[in-house]
Amino acid sequence: MRLINLTPGKGGRLLLGALPFVVLALAYLVGSALRLADNPGDKLLPSLGAMGRMIEVMAFTPDKRTGAYLLWTDTAASLFRLWSGLAIATVIALVIGLLNGVLPVMRALLAPFVAFLSMVPPLALLPVLFIVLGLGEVSKIALIVIGVAPILTRDLALTAAALPREQIVKAETLSASSWLIAWRVVLPQVMPRLIDSLRLQLGPAFLFLIAAEAISAEGGLGYRIFLVRRYLSMDIIFPYVVWITVLAVAMDLALRLLRRRLYPWAEPEGRA
């Protein structure tokens, strides 16, 4: 039988999916054990026990100086910045993207400008943001917005403009105004794509967040990683990286479920 016709069953899929994770964990354990056997003071690949102790310290022991549980305060600070940035970017994308995608006049006015803006490397603007908006929350949220909004906007405008012309004409014969076409015909049909687009932008959003926190912050997941980097504390950095990844995966999953719940007609097989 050809390889192309070989389809794993449910159990087989689960097993195959788990395999890379197991391999990675094993490789780490072996590497860590070998290095620690050579040099018990090695900091590069700490043992699981060492990481467990640091997780205990960061997540479940109050900080000696502030009395806060650092992992949770860091997570809260970072998620506040990330979600504020994504929310503002989504609103901007909805307004400008829809205007752009629905009205040819607005497209002529805005599309070249948005295309230009989306090419500005956001990280290059970071110093400007810190100088103009200060070192507080605003500049970090602004960086996420600047990084994510143009791409969301362009994607939304493209999706809106790609709707068949027949649908727009059809809506006109059903007495729709320009506003009603945007509200009842275009908006509901671009929403699933907006959610997918947001999912794809989670990675870049985290990148901008951590970059901003690394340079100047008083708390946050990125701030902590770059703080303990000075002490080569891989036993804190590794759990933090895993935690950030878990957060991102959970958000991705939540958005996927939201899309399926709200827009059942947009599922690939067309099944509701």
Binding site: E172, T173, S175, R184, W265, G270
Partner: protein, 278 residues
């Protein structure tokens, strides 16, 4: 009762002449079928009736007034594809027109008004043979059912002029015969004039009161660009088919009956054993 008068209509795209000197008067309640080879401008002509495109020269007059320059609720349309909204259920698809006409800001109705409209919509869905499919999305409906839905959606607006752009071209022959029967009935029962573009001659003569053929009189390659298509044949059916009245064509199909199984060919006697021939 909508009459159309088209006078000396031309459509050009840059140097390319698509249609030239088309003059035509369409009587109220007519069912006109436009036929012709592909690329002869029949869909362009339909788009001009719809208001989606403007003629380069000439005038279109509907009921004594020049045609508005954009599509509107007095002219309904059903395309071969993309006629219904994929994000709305069948019932919502039929309700959206009146909803948008009544609520100019929200585009939705609530409470009693919504209930009344939903009842009307369900009645119409029943009429086009979609009872029971109210809560299905278009992707869950077959091609024939989607076109029935598109007809219902359009008829909710009570258009004066119904424009059909190869609406049944993508359907299987069996399904097509059923939907033809439905189309005939809808034309009889709803006070509208119909213009249908089709490439299927049989369909044209099966439905229309008048069949108009578009073609290019000049076919040489160097002429094709500068000479457009025009009306080459204009055939009124005889004996005439009249809207809302039984004629010879309907004699054997009682109004409201679209069950065509009676006309099916009965299975013949079983064949002799094929194995013996091999």
């Amino acid at each position: 009762m909508t009459a159309l008068t088209i006078q000396n209509l031309w459509k050009e795209y840059g140097p390319q002449v698509v249609l030239e000197s088309v003059s035509l008067t369409i009587a109220p309640r007519a069912f006109v079928a436009l036929v012709g080879p592909s690329g002869c401008g029949k869909t362009t002509f339909l788009r001009m009736l719809l208001g989606q495109e403007q003629p380069t020269r000439g005038t279109i007059v509907m009921d004594g007034a020049p045609l508005p320059r954009e599509p509107g609720p007095d002219r309904g349309v059903v395309y071969q594809r993309y006629s219904v909204f994929p994000h709305l259920t069948a019932l919502q698809n039929v309700m959206i027109g009146p909803e948008m006409r009544a609520a100019r800001l929200a585009g939705r109705l609530w409470g009693k008004a919504r209930k009344g409209l939903a009842d009307d919509a369900a009645t119409l869905l029943h009429e086009v043979g979609l009872a029971g499919a109210e809560d299905k999305f278009p992707a869950q409906l077959s091609g024939g059912m989607q076109q029935r839905l598109a007809l219902a959606q359009t008829l909710m607006m009570r258009p004066k002029l119904l424009l059909l752009d190869e609406p049944f071209g993508a359907l299987d022959p069996g399904i097509r015969a059923e939907i033809h029967a439905l189309m005939r009935r809808l034309w009889h029962e709803h006070p509208m004039t119909v213009v249908m573009v089709t490439h299927d001659m049989r369909e044209a003569f099966a439905l229309a009161t008048r069949v108009i053929a578009f073609d290019r009189p000049r076919q040489r390659p160097e002429e094709r660009e500068r000479y457009g298509a025009t009306i080459t044949n204009d055939i009124a059916l005889w004996p005439p088919r009249v809207a809302g009245r039984q004629t010879i064509y309907d004699a054997d199909i009682p109004a409201g009956d679209e069950d065509l199984s009676r006309f099916a060919i009965q299975p013949g006697p079983p064949r002799p054993d094929q194995g013996a021939l091999r």
